[in-house]
């Protein structure tokens, strides 16, 4: 048989991490208590404590889930990208920016900032962030069909990602989409120039 108890266990864990991610994104770090997450997931606090012995385990699990989901979503969106030329560059930049202004990033932001003052959490979070950063960079290079051997290309792409991160940060203080749009347009033009020049 398919071991239905393992099934149920997995499902409970999943509901918990999903609830934790949502809670982090909308209630923030301090607002994310195990009791609240458990209630949102529809399980008791004891059950949560069973699957994630400590609060840090729950948070780390949530971040891991968010990272994973982020990557999967990227693959999907990458497949549905437009044709060639400047519109494609702009679409790619838009996609990258969307990563950093979405709810998963908001959740991750809470954890990252909190982890900056919590060594033990930092140790668990830092590798996740590093992997995500590398993957996104790789995806960006691939989608832009960029030649990283050209001088300046790699650096410009990295800068683009950092700009997107900056957008994500600005978003937590309020909706920024109106301010963002012209910047993205302009930057896509510049980026296309750097990619294609010479």
């Amino acid at each position: 048989m398919t071991a239905p108890q393992q099934e149920r266990s997995k499902a409970t864990r999943l509901r918990l991490v999903e609830a934790a991610v949502d809670c982090l994104a909308e209630k923030g770090w301090s607002g994310t208590t195990v009791a609240i997450v458990a209630r949102a997931a529809g399980v008791s606090r004891g059950a949560a404590q069973h699957h994630f012995p400590t609060r840090e385990d729950l948070i780390a699990g949530a971040l891991e889930f968010a990272t994973e989901t982020q990557l999967i979503e990227n693959r999907a969106r990458a497949a549905a990208l437009p044709e060639h030329g400047l519109t494609r560059v702009e679409a790619v930049v838009n996609m990258l920016v969307d990563i950093y202004v979405g709810p998963y990033f908001r959740a991750a932001l809470q954890v990252w900032v909190a982890a900056s003052a919590d060594p033990s959490l930092h140790a668990r979070v830092q590798p996740l962030e590093a992997r995500l950063g590398r993957t996104i960079h790789h995806v960006a290079v691939e989608l832009l069909r960029a030649d990283e051997r050209k001088p300046g290309v790699r650096e410009t792409i990295q800068g683009t990602l950092d700009m997107a991160r900056g957008f994500g940060l600005a978003t937590v203080l309020g909706d920024d989409s109106a301010r963002r749009r012209p910047i993205v347009r302009q930057w896509a033009r510049v980026l296309a120039g750097v990619l294609g020049e010479q």
Copy 2:
């Protein structure tokens, strides 16, 4: 008379907000309790509560102080900027980046992220952030001697600031200076191109 008791009061308040900023930067949001800040400032908890009735008042005061100090420091560094040409552009970008990777920004980051889930704090913090953002943008335009009427100039400068913000965010996860340097160099080159083209 110079009312020395007002003098003392001011001094105590200053020590408190300074201690609060330091504490935010190195111990994070949750680690910044009024008791710890008061001890770091060398006053009793009751005194802190006297000057800042609630914890939120203390945090808001600290952020205000950090914002103010940030602006003053900028003026000073702006005066000591190099001559003209590409080196100047690079120096300006470096200066802007330094703003966002310094301790004042780290402290502000903690407050901003926490404020995203705290409406009452958000209301006090948002105008500060807006003012700081506008001022920095203005300073950047002035130092770069940019002509904002040229299409794309304003957007590129804004993008530069967002990239700097992104650097600041990346810094809380670990030292990033090595990765940053080539990106800044390249970015300065691109920015100089946008500023100078017509």
